[in-house]
Amino acid sequence: MEQVLANGLYLGAQYALIALGLTLIFALMNVLNFAHGQLYVLGGFVTYTIYGQLEMPFVAALFAAAVTLALVGGLMERFLFRTVLKRSVREESTMLLAAGTAFFLDAIILLIFGEKQRGVPKIVDGVFNWDFRLIMPYDRILIGFLAIFAIAAFVLYMQYSKTGRALRALAQDRVAAQLMGVNVDRYSMIGFALGAMLAGVVGGLLVTITGVNSGIGGPISIKAFMMVMIGGAGVISGAIAGGFILGMLESVGLSVLHSYGDITYLMIFASLMVFLSIRPQGLMGKPWG
């Protein structure tokens, strides 16, 4: 049981970090970013190139992934989403754009990095073993703690920095924020970049454990959507809760339902549908987000 819980916590920390980026973008622009999983994959590949191939330190690779993704996110907002949001009659048109961007990133990733599964050398060796009740490789523990550290840093940043305050104001009420002198265009771009950066950082962290391949973007996006829905779209605490809940459900489900065959995900998805029809706004969301 300890093993299952520890696995759940470790998964949950990663998931929460992915969901944070998605929910931030959603809160700011009301855009459902289909390309979020692709941003994650891109982060993984940047880390793989710099740490795995050029053999530079892991921290440098992670930093490079963060910067690259922030840049990509900023450009996406500036040149794609902003234009469409301004011009279209129905704001759902951004969904088409997001899906198109997801295809585009998929194509780019496939062309540059190929279709092979890529892995990198472990960052630390050894396995933590507590009496055979809890076995966890040290690198997983380290990555888990790094993820939790990143979540904490993000929350503090949103809570206490000037940028964070502006972003939260923007998420609450766009017009009111503008009236208070927040530069809406600039902070939308920063927010989008920040969201993309978070996806890139998780990609960079997880490439050391699960590796990365060009096909996992879509499934990651769907998982991120689920976490955001569990917690409530556009709510930061909700995304964190959703991430940990999904991590736990997966970990517990895979061990408990193991004997019934491969039905863990069916159960998770089905119960999510029931949950959402009872509580449409998720755990902490505003009604009709």
Binding site: V84, T101, L266, F269, L272
Partner: protein, 329 residues
């Protein structure tokens, strides 16, 4: 547009679809186009369903679930119980409609992104259920579905047995084109009826509609049921044409494509999904020669299109209805 020009226009479109295109294919010898056009017709039926849910203001990314369900219902009935395909086609549609009542009543209370995401999850639930249920044969799917049989009334053959035809492709083309015409004629009629106007009121403001006495809960379910019915019909015919159905026949990617078809054609136009499906499907096919750059070019064009025409291709139209879209087919 006057009544006569309308009738002439519709007649011309029907003639092109039913006589012109088969004749052209016969002359040019491009028999493969039959398959492409059949697929376009069927996919546009399913997209038409998605379009109807857009019409009541809901983003539906769950049509793949109903298409898959329809395919399996028809396939299981044909293979395991020996029912005629022609009977299973409406049964598949009605089954999907019935299921969508049960699913729709709770989830249609959701709006915006929440509805979009829960329907996305629904697609995944359908795929995983088809993998897990005992009757669906798991990942191996159902293969070797027999071709549709003959329909005879008092010894008069209305539809010949597809298996006895030397080439079943034109037969399937006619089948799916007729289905598509029926589907879009129905949608056109629906949108221009009292029900259609009520649906439009839902799209604009549900509270306001409800306050002046529109039964919004009932209307939403009706629209969703029609949408799922169309999805089921499309899926069932698709299973009959490919003579097989797998859990991966309709996945999240397909659900997203159905939605993209509607967006691309334009959400404000009944014939939008038809045009969108045609452009997306043919565009993808044409780019096949570019090899590894296929997806890159496709997505770049898609992004450019949405940047230039954020309200869909039909927002380019010059006259009133979307007749040109049908003409271009």
């Amino acid at each position: 547009m006057t009544r006569t020009t309308k009738i002439v226009g519709v007649g011309a479109v029907l003639a092109i679809l039913l006589v012109g295109i088969p004749a052209l294919i016969n002359i040019s010898g491009r028999w493969d186009l039959y398959y492409t056009l059949t697929s376009v017709a069927l996919l546009s039926i399913a997209s038409g369903g998605v379009w109807l849910t857009f019409y009541i203001g809901r983003i539906n990314i769950g049509q793949g679930a109903y298409a898959l369900m329809g395919g399996y219902v028809s396939a299981i009935l044909v293979v395991k119980y020996g029912v005629s395909f022609w009977l299973t086609l409406p049964i598949a549609g009605l089954f999907c409609g019935a299921v969508s009542v049960l699913i729709g009543i709770p989830i249609l209370r959701l709006r915006g992104v929440y509805f979009a995401m829960i329907t996305l999850v629904l697609t995944e639930v359908a795929r995983l259920s088809m993998l897990a249920l005992p009757i669906t044969n798991g990942a191996k799917g159902i293969t070797n579905i027999p071709l549709p049989g003959a329909v005879e009334v008092f010894g008069l053959t209305l539809i010949p047995d597809f298996a006895t035809l030397s080439n079943a492709k034109p037969a399937f083309y006619y089948l799916s084109i007729v289905l598509m015409i029926l589907c879009f004629a129905g949608l056109y009629r629906l949108v221009n009826s009292r029900l259609g106007k009520l649906c439009r009121s839902l799209q604009q403001n549900e509270e306001l509609a409800s306050s002046i006495g529109v039964n919004i809960a009932y209307l939403r379910v009706v629209a969703y049921v029609i949408s799922s019915f169309l999805g089921g019909i499309g899926g069932a015919t698709f299973a009959a044409i490919s003579q097989s159905v797998y859990p991966s026949s309709f996945t999240i990617a397909d659900s997203i494509n159905f939605m993209l078809n509607c967006f691309l054609g334009g959400l404000g136009y009944v014939f939008g999904p038809m045009l969108g499906t045609l452009v997306l499907y043919f565009g993808w096919d044409l780019l096949f020669q570019t090899g590894e750059f296929q997806l890159l070019i496709f997505s770049t064009v898609l992004i450019a299109l949405i940047l230039a025409l954020p309200n869909g291709l039909l927002s380019l139209r010059f006259s009133k209805a979307g007749k040109e879209s049908v003409g271009r087919e």
